[in-house]
């Protein structure tokens, strides 16, 4: 099953490779990983999207917690949570296709943030599935470039991950 795990870790050189190394060394799946410092510059917040059986997910959580640099961890999928990913996609937009692409971006509540007479760059924030679905709609023939940040997640309401 797909799980989204969020953690707070020391914002130190090497902390990221400890996490990445753990996944490769133990053969765990990693779908996406995103990380940046928080309001407290000594801490980074990381979101990892992974998948595996319940037993594997349990081990992943335990192994991450065991890393000395990991200060707090929550498996967001175990309760109410929100998930957002940012995507920038550059598409070939020529002739008659331009109108359709613009409408498509609008339906998804995406924004065109850059345009030339033969390209659009669309910005879209949403769940990973929404992003996937826009890409599918546009079709690979028109896509020139895709940049995705990987998911960021946060718990709903009082589900807070803080030190």
């Amino acid at each position: 099953m797909r799980h989204i795990i969020s953690l707070l870790m020391e914002n130190e050189a090497g902390a990221l490779s400890r996490v990445a190394g753990l996944f490769s060394a133990r053969g765990y799946n990693i779908e996406s990983l995103s990380v940046a410092p928080t309001e407290d510059p000594t801490l980074s917040r990381m979101t990892i999207v992974t998948s595996g059986s319940d037993a594997v997910i349990e081990q992943i959580n335990k192994q991450l917690n065991k890393l000395v640099d990991v200060a707090a961890l929550i498996d967001l999928s175990e309760g109410g949570h929100l998930e957002r990913e940012l995507m920038l996609v550059k598409v070939r937009a020529e002739g008659g296709a331009r109108e359709g692409l613009k409408r498509m971006a609008d339906t998804f509540r995406g924004r065109i943030i850059d345009e030339t007479d033969h390209t659009y760059t669309i910005e879209l924030t949403g769940s990973c599935a929404e992003l996937d679905s826009l890409l599918e709609k546009i079709g690979r023939d028109l896509i020139l470039e895709t940049v995705r940040t990987g998911a960021s997640g946060i718990g709903c309401g009082d589900r807070i991950l803080k030190l």
Binding site: E10, G14, R18, A25, A55, Q59, Q63, K66, D69
Partner: protein, 569 residues
């Protein structure tokens, strides 16, 4: 007053009461060696290869309750140390390894003797640090010692660039340490412990399976009390030997691949299993599906949550220090009035004793013609009164020692279990002898393994370490040859040890005493003579039966009850 980084490092080691550092010098650690030279509180043991420095620090730590310390230079010094670090990591030895690094300005430039020490060791340390500022040395060393010995112990590497060891700052050793992201477990959950007590009391076929965690936590007194209070059968893993006195009537021997028939059968058929500081290793439970075929409730006490439910499902996890958890469990059991059901226990012991009779415990066919390796270990046990510190290398000799040297006390049995590192035995024995001066220390080895760190005979000479080396020389990489015999149609591919040196002459060349023993009748007198030489290192080359195999054996990947006994072949 401002001190250099090197001075600060040595002061930190003094503050940590470090008596011995095992190491090897080089360019990146010159300032550190200079400061070592100027003081005499921290003594340095010059090994002949960095791998040996780390194994020596490992033996030092395992046979005491101290943190082992090793010091190596950058580049090849560090890479040579990696096998030792991985060995310590797998067996959870508390250790601090200090490595020199190229100057900060040169890092990343493929400088002379530069390797990414933190990167290379990351998967085999509990934690590691690159110290980029002299102001951080004291606090980093403080953290390193704290991490190494608290919670589940392990090696911690501190990499110090050369210029940092020469920069100056004020020295103050932190009085306490707090790592906000690190909270090792202590007491177990009281509710879970009460629940465990109830499950144990209601068991019909209970079993206690105790591992290295009992030794690491110095909890063998509590384990012994628990086993005797409940009257349950108890087995030890390879790493747990000595955790329960082998002479205790409840002890059913080691379990696993080369464990006894009764231990493996009881493990397979019990209805309630109490696992204490043991991690269900694949050499213990070869086939988890086969193990799961018999339903049983498992209670697992471990300080590291990731050891629990890793390979087998656990019904009642108790995260905590064995020491504290067993104290509390004993308290609960003693304050209640309930005892295990007498009829159930009698029936269960009857069954266990029947298994004992089938397997015959451990047995081998002795010979008056050729030396049987098991016989040497039995005699070794007899002559040392079962009270020696025994280190080993890896192979058949290691298993025979585990089986036939009946350990009565913890921390007497020093072996590489998790990584299975040939070359561990002799350097580990050096560390054991340094921290236990005057004690009897023997290294049981094979003619293959001993050659992996034979150069340490020189260190032993320099530091006058009267270790007794018991080489069970079967002329083969015996353990591998055994697998080839069983599973690869007797094709002994590259396992015959050709062109062996004359070990007697070799020992003599290093300034030690060498003995060759070829006849069974000479085993006992030779051992007596060797152990009577209190001040000499004696290298004993026992020519043993090259065809002998280790039994019982649960072939890799098989179930515990699919065990091969000696007479079946």
């Amino acid at each position: 007053m401002e001190l250099t980084g090197a001075e600060i490092l040595i002061r930190c080691l003094q503050e940590e009461q470090v008596e011995y550092v095992f190491g090897y010098p080089g360019g990146a650690v010159l300032f550190i060696y200079d400061e070592l030279f100027k003081q005499d509180k921290v003594k340095h043991v010059l090994v002949r290869h960095e791998q040996a420095a780390v194994h020596a620090a490992d033996g030092y730590a395992r046979s005491s309750d101290k943190v082992g310390v090793a010091l190596v230079t950058s580049g090849p010094g560090l890479t040579n140390a990696v096998t030792g670090i991985a060995t310590a990591y797998m067996d959870s030895t508390p250790m601090v390894v200090i490595s020199g690094q190229v100057p900060t300005g040169a890092i990343g430039e493929d400088a002379f003797q530069e390797v990414d020490a933190v990167g290379i060791t990351r998967p085999c340390v509990k934690h590691n640090y690159l110290v980029k500022d002299v102001k951080d040395i004291a606090s980093t060393i403080k953290k390193a010692f704290y991490l190494a010995k608290s919670g589940r112990p392990g090696p911690v590497l501190v990499d110090i660039p050369k210029d940092v060891s020469n920069h100056r700052t004020a020295f103050e050793y932190p009085a306490s340490v707090n790592i906000r992201s690190y909270h090792p477990a202590g007491k177990g959950d009281s509710g879970q412990i009460r629940h465990a007590a109830q499950m144990l009391l209601e068991a019909k076929r209970p079993m206690i399976y105790a591992g290295g965690g009992v030794v690491l936590s110095d909890a063998s007194a509590q384990l012994t009390d628990l086993v005797r209070l409940l009257g349950f059968p108890c087995t030890n893993t390879l790493m747990g030997l000595g955790g329960l006195p082998a002479s205790d009537k409840h002890f059913v021997g080691m379990l696993g691949m080369h464990g006894t028939y009764e231990a493996n059968m009881a493990m397979q058929h019990c209805d309630v299993l109490l696992a204490v500081g043991a991690r269900f290793d694949d050499r213990v439970i070869g086939n988890v599906e086969h193990f799961a075929e018999v339903p049983r409730k498992i209670i697992h006490i471990d300080i590291d949550p990731s050891s629990i439910a890793k390979r087998v499902k656990v019904d009642l996890p108790i995260v905590g220090d064995v020491n504290l958890v067993l104290d509390e469990l004993l308290g609960v059991l003693r304050s209640g009035r309930q005892v295990p059901g007498a009829a159930d226990m009698a029936a269960w012991w009857k069954q266990v004793n029947e298994w004992r009779a089938v397997g015959g415990g451990l047995r081998y066919k002795n010979s008056s013609e050729i030396i049987k390796p098991q016989f040497v270990i039995e005699k070794l046990h007899e002559i040392t009164g079962g009270d020696a510190f025994i280190t080993t290398d890896v192979g058949q000799h290691q298993m025979w020692t585990a089986q036939y040297y009946k350990f009565e006390k913890p921390r007497r049995w020093i072996t590489s279990g998790g990584l299975g590192t040939m070359g561990f035995g002799l350097p580990a024995a050096m560390g054991v002898q340094m921290v236990n001066p005057g004690a009897t220390v023997a290294c049981v080895t094979g003619e293959g393994s001993i050659q992996m760190n034979i150069q340490e005979l020189s260190t032993c000479k320099q530091f006058r370490l009267p270790i007794k080396i018991i080489a069970l020389n079967n002329g083969y990489l015996g353990m591998v040859r055994q697998w080839q015999e069983f599973f690869h149609g007797n094709r002994y591919s590259e396992t015959y040890m050709n062109a062996l040196p004359d070990f007697v002459k070799l020992a003599e060349a290093y300034g030690h005493v060498g003995m060759r023993v070829e006849k069974p009748a000479d085993v006992e007198p030779a051992l007596k003579e060797a152990f009577a030489r209190k001040h000499d290192l004696v290298f004993m080359d026992f020519r043993t039966d090259p065809t002998e195999n280790v039994y019982p054996m649960v072939p890799g990947g098989r179930g515990l009850s699919e065990i091969i006994l000696a007479e079946e072949l």
